[in-house]
Amino acid sequence: MRLGSGQGERFGLLLIGSALLVILAVTGLWARHQRDAHLEQNRVQGVSLVRLLSRIPLARLATGPNLQGPLQVMRHSQGNPDFAYGTVVDPEGKTLAEVAAAGVIVPRRPLPAEPSAWLGERLLESANGERAIREFHAPVIEDGRLVAHVRVGFLEPGLAVAFSELPAVGAMALLIFLLAPVSYFLLRREVRPLAQANLHIQRLLEGQRLEPVQIEATGALAEFAERFNSMLNLAQSRVRELESGKMDLLASSKVLAYRTSRMESVLASLPDAALVLDETGAVSFANARVEALLGVTPDAVQGQRIGAWSPDPALVSFLALYAGDGPRLARPQTLDLELGGKHLRVGAHPLVAPGPGGQTTGTLVLARDVTTEHLAVRNQAEFVAHVAHELKAPLNVLSMYSETLLGKDGESEDFRIEACNVIQDEVERLSSLVNTMLSIARLETGTATLERQRVRLGEFLRDVLEAVSRGGQRAGLRFELNVPNETPPLFVDKELLRVAVNNLLTNAIKYNRSDGTVELGAEDRGESVVIRVRDTGIGVTPDERARIFDKFYRSEREEARARGGHGLGLALVKEIVERHGGRIEVESTPGEGSEFRLILRKTGASAKEAR
């Protein structure tokens, strides 16, 4: 690990600069010390000189300019280069004697008047930028009277290093200058581990990693590094724990999201309307079927409480048992209700949080359209009632006749013959009813398979008409067969088709007027063949037309009722034709007659047959 070169240079320059500054400061201090020492020396000299001179009698002091007076002696005797002047002035300031260094003009300045200030020193600043002069002065007193002042001036020493001191100063500067790089290297050696650590940390931060910092250090720094590394380890383990926790959380949230979306897609694809109510009773989920079954859009109910949107008071009070403000039911229940013409079965299932003592977290509400089942049940009940009635009617007649035969009336020959005929008719009626019902049941449940065979339509229809018309001719009816010479062969279940055509012909006879006509015809319509049974009977009203193919439907009209029948014949015809992939049509004018048409495809099995 090294310091960065830029950093190192900066550090080096800083050190050199600091060394120079230190040298400069030291030199400055040295010079200042020199000046102070100088000043002190001057003061000692000055004070002692003025004191010494002031004790000399004035007569000797003021000896005239050309004489070797004490001032001249003083000047020569002392080698102070700062010496500026020495002068004796009378109290009025007139110069009595004077010596001055070369180039020095003795300043004429009055001395203080008060006796206490006669002895002292003062700094005389030069007006023209020359060096200031420190002047020491003392009074010359003779016979208790001031006769003169002695003034000695020294040039104020400046900040200068004496030439003689240069080697010492230089040596010191050199020492300092040499010490700087040494201290730089020493410092650098001390700082290096820190720099290493710094760089390491920087790289770790850049790489966003947490690893122990490897530094070569000793002492406190090594201890610091060790503790720093332990702290890093701790941080690292905490980070790992957090990261694994985060991964677990992420995984479980993904699982949860998956489960939620799976649950929602399950609920969405249910054939039932599904609503999920939360603890507050507000709708938190509603699938698309809600619109079809409950008449409200999923968006409209979202977040709403049931009372806010449900149009049905029974539903509201039922769901209040689960999501109301009062105590709530913990077991599922169902409610059957009629809403918008549909029969609905609404189930409420409390959603209990898994685990023991789980809290109820909401309610799942499923609404199912049971209209078909409801109608089926009702139809079933009606069917059973019809069957019972239809079976019991002939049984009743049989029972009554047989009972009468056993009594006194049975002794009558005429009654016995009548009874035998009635019993035979009723047994036939019963038998045909049972057969028809069995045929319908087999066709409806798909247990009967069509035994298709090639049938020549012309011959087939002729046979059927011949068999049926025998009874009809007795009643004075006229029969017509209108089949083209060339009829296409049909691929049908011959026996079932015989039952169908037979039933239509039987009806045409039964409901005809006494001198009426029954016409059986066929027509080739290209892809299909039409078998037509036309009569001149009582006809079918438009109201009846919608229902005559329903099982057990009987006309309410007296003229129809009078002719008997169990209401299954046309239902069976329709079932047979549809099993062949065909259809039945009826056209009629009440009072004039009817035409029933069986439309059969020439080839191919129907979807219904294929089941």
Binding site: A385, A388, H389, L391, K392, A393, L395, N396, V397, L398, S399, M400, Y401, E403, T404, G407, K408, D409, V422, E426, E556, R557, E558, A560, R561, A562
Partner: protein
Amino acid sequence: MARILVVDDEPHVTRVTRMALERAGHEVVVAGNGEEALAALEAGAFEAMVTDITMPGMTGLELCERVRHQLELEAMPIFVVTSRVEDEFRNWARAFSRLEFVEKPLSLRRLVARLEASLAEEKATT
């Protein structure tokens, strides 16, 4: 001997019922539907009525209601012949007194016995 109205759209039924009741010594009037029955009741007095339920036009139940409410023949015993005694018939019948259901297949002997018992009861109370 009593005068009895028999209402049924099935001629075989009315034929043998008439024979049985006449042999027991009663006078029988037959009506083929509800309208005929109401007309007969308006025309003359009857001690009892036997009617089928399933008939074209007016049903037997409707006939009973009109007999009781319209003609105010509240005391006349009525025997309603039906292939099955439905719950709804029973509920309906609660509103009427002296009305009994007779289930098919009908036993003529039992019908005559019940009818005569009912007539005897009526005679005892009046």
